[in-house]
C-alpha cells in the first residue's frame, strides 16, 4: 500500500487565505488504511480548518466528499456538483489521487493535504514501514525477500557498508541493517551463495531515472 502523512495544518491554512468554499475529498484506499486520508480524517480536517479560520477572523465553508478510490478516474465524476461549488479542492489521497482529481477538475486548485511518503506496510500498531522502492527491477529472490534498495539507507547491492553497529543501521539505530537481515535469512535457508555472488550495478532506467514510467499490458492496450 501507499503510505502518506498529514501535512501540518498551518501549511494548508496558508493556502486557504483567499478561499471561501473548500471541498475536502477523502480516499478509502491506502490512505484510509494508514489513518490519514479516510472519511473520518476528512471530517476531522474539516472541523479543524473551520475552527482555525474562525479564530483568524474569517469564515470558510468546508464540505466533504468521500471517494472509494481517488486514483480511479471512473469514480471521480460522482462528485462533480460539489467540486463545482468549491473554489478549492483539498485531497486526502496519495499523490496519484491528487493528480487524478486535478485532471478530472482542471480548472480547480487542488491542494494535497498529505505528503505521500512510501510504499510499505503495517509494522505494528499505528506504525507503517517502507518495503518497496518501486525500482522496476526486483531482486527480492536474490536477497531472501528483504529489499536492499529500500531497506538499506544506501541501497547497496553487495552487502553492508562498514557502518552497522549491533546489527543496526548507521543512519538509525532503531532500524535493523537490511544486509544483516538478508545474510541471516540466506544463511538459514542454506543459500549463502546468493550473498557471495558479486551483483552488477543496477540498471536504473527502470526506476524513475529513466523518465516517466508507463505500463501497457499486451492484448489489453490499444497502444
Amino acid at each position: 500500500m501507499i503510505v502518506a502523512e498529514a501535512k501540518p495544518l498551518e501549511e494548508l491554512l496558508a493556502c486557504l487565505e483567499e478561499s471561501r468554499r473548500a471541498l475536502i475529498v477523502s480516499c478509502s484506499g491506502c490512505t484510509a488504511v494508514c489513518l490519514t486520508g479516510g472519511a473520518a480524517q476528512a471530517t476531522s480536517l474539516a472541523s479543524r480548518l473551520k475552527i482555525a479560520k474562525r479564530i483568524n477572523g474569517s469564515d470558510l465553508d468546508v464540505e466533504t466528499a468521500f471517494l472509494l478510490r481517488q486514483c480511479e478516474p471512473e469514480l471521480l465524476p460522482a462528485i462533480a456538483d460539489r467540486c463545482a461549488r468549491a473554489d478549492v479542492l483539498i485531497s486526502l489521497a496519495c499523490g496519484v489521487g491528487v493528480q487524478q482529481l486535478a485532471e478530472a477538475y482542471p480548472d480547480k486548485w487542488v491542494i494535497p493535504a498529505l505528503n505521500t511518503t512510501f510504499a510499505g506496510s503495517y509494522a505494528g500498531e499505528g506504525v507503517w514501514e517502507e518495503r518497496c522502492g518501486l525500482c522496476g527491477n526486483c531482486v527480492l529472490h536474490l536477497t531472501g525477500g528483504v529489499c536492499p534498495v529500500t531497506r538499506c539507507a544506501k541501497g547497496l547491492l553487495n552487502g553492508p557498508c562498514g557502518g552497522p553497529a549491533d546489527g543496526r543501521c548507521e543512519v538509525d539505530p532503531e532500524v535493523p541493517c537490511a544486509w544483516i537481515l538478508i545474510y541471516e535469512r540466506l544463511q538459514a535457508q542454506g543459500r549463502l551463495e546468493l550473498f557471495t555472488q558479486v551483483r552488477p550495478a543496477k540498471d536504473w532506467r527502470s526506476a524513475r531515472d529513466g523518465g516517466l514510467r508507463r505500463f501497457s499490458r499486451e492484448g489489453m492496450s490499444r497502444e
Binding site: 553487495n158 557498508c161 562498514g162 557502518g163 548507521e170 545474510y183 550495478a201
Partner: protein, 306 residues
C-alpha cells in the same frame, strides 16, 4: 605493476607499508593540505586524502591529492559512492589518472545524515564493490562501465578498498571482503582496530579462506588525542567502536595526548605481529603531527627519501 607507485612497490616487495590520512580543510586552502603532507613526508609510503569524510563539505579530494603529491608524498585518492554517479566517477578517474594519481580507494561513503548537509540527495548509483570492479575493468579491459572501449591511455591505478575488520558478525565482513577482492581490490585498509583479539580472528579466518592471497591488508590505527575525542567517535563516527577500557585508560592518564600516542604505538607493534598484516594505516585526522612519532616510536625504520 599497475601504477608503478611507491605504495604498490612497497606492497609488492613485502615491505611493511605505512599509510596515513589527510583530511582536506573546510575552506579553499591548499596550503593547509600541503603543510600536513610535509609533516608526513619520509614517514609514509602514501597518504590517503579523504573525500568529504563524515559527509561534511571539504576541499575536493582530487585537488587535495594533487597538493599532497606536489609536496612529494604519494596520494591515495579516496572516492565515495555517495556523491557521484557512474558518469562522474569515471570522468574523475580519467582526470585523476591524467594528473598522476597512482592509487584510488573505493568507498561506499558515510551517509549524508552525519554531515553538514543532511538534506542532500545521495547518489549510491554503484556500491563500493561495483566501483572496484568498474575501476579494474577500465584499467585491465580498457572498457567503460557501459562496455565502450577506452581509446587511448588507460587509467592505471592501484585499487584499494576498505573493510571494518572488527565489526560483527565477522563472517559477514569476510564475505564482503571476499567480494571486494574478487572485484579487483589489491589492497585493503581497515577501519581503526582497537579489539586485537577480534582482529586476529578476522585475519586467521581471512587467511584460512584464502581471501588475502592476492590482496594486501593494511590494518587501521586511530590515535586518540583525548578521551573526549574517543567518546565523540563512538557516538558520531559510523563504524568506529572504541572499547570502554581504552576510553577509561585515556581518561585516567595525566597526559592524554601522550597516552594516545602510547596506545597507538602499542597497537602498531601488536598489529605487525599478526600474520597477514602488510602494513598499517594511521588515521590521525586533525592530528597529523602524531604520525611521525608513532612511526618512529613503533620502530619502523626510517623511510629515507621515499
Amino acid at each position: 605493476m599497475n601504477s608503478g607507485g611507491r605504495l604498490e612497490k612497497a606492497l609488492a616487495e613485502r615491505e611493511f607499508a605505512v599509510t596515513a590520512e589527510i583530511g582536506p580543510p573546510r575552506n579553499a586552502s591548499g596550503e593547509s593540505v600541503r603543510a600536513k603532507a610535509r609533516l608526513l613526508k619520509g614517514f609514509v609510503h602514501a597518504a590517503n586524502v579523504t573525500d568529504c569524510q563524515s559527509a561534511v563539505v571539504r576541499l575536493a579530494s582530487l585537488a587535495a591529492a594533487l597538493h599532497v603529491q606536489a609536496e612529494g608524498v604519494e596520494a591515495v585518492w579516496q572516492m565515495t559512492c555517495r556523491d557521484r554517479n557512474r558518469i562522474a566517477m569515471q570522468s574523475d578517474l580519467l582526470g585523476a589518472a591524467s594528473l598522476g594519481i597512482k592509487n584510488v580507494l573505493c568507498l561506499t561513503g558515510d551517509h549524508q545524515k552525519f554531515g553538514n548537509h543532511p538534506a542532500a540527495k545521495n547518489v549510491f548509483d554503484l556500491d563500493s564493490v561495483q566501483m572496484v570492479e568498474m575501476v579494474r575493468r577500465m584499467r585491465d579491459d580498457g572498457r567503460f562501465h557501459c562496455g565502450d572501449e577506452i581509446k587511448g591511455p588507460l587509467p592505471r591505478f592501484l585499487i584499494g578498498a576498505v573493510e571494518n575488520a572488527t565489526a560483527e558478525p565477522t563472517v559477514l565482513r569476510l564475505l564482503r571482503l571476499r567480494k571486494k577482492v574478487a572485484a579487483g581490490a589489491q589492497f585493503i585498509q581497515t577501519q581503526g582496530v582497537f579489539d586485537l583479539a577480534r582482529f586476529e580472528v578476522f585475519m586467521r579466518e581471512a587467511a584460512d579462506a584464502g581471501i588475502l592471497e592476492n590482496c594486501r591488508l593494511l590494518a587501521g590505527v586511530i590515535p586518540l588525542k583525548s578521551a573526549r575525542a574517543a567518546r565523540f567517535m563512538n557516538e558520531r563516527v559510523p563504524g568506529v567502536r572504541i572499547p570502554d577500557e581504552v576510553v577509561r585508560r585515556m581518561e585516567q592518564s595525566r597526559d592524554q595526548e601522550e597516552e594516545g600516542i602510547r596506545i597507538a604505538v602499542e597497537t602498531v607493534d601488536a598489529l605487525r605481529r599478526v600474520p597477514g598484516v602488510a602494513g598499517v594505516h594511521l588515521m590521525a585526522v586533525a592530528w597529523e603531527e602524531a604520525v611521525p612519532r608513532i612511526v618512529s616510536e613503533a620502530g619502523i625504520k626510517p623511510l629515507g627519501d621515499r
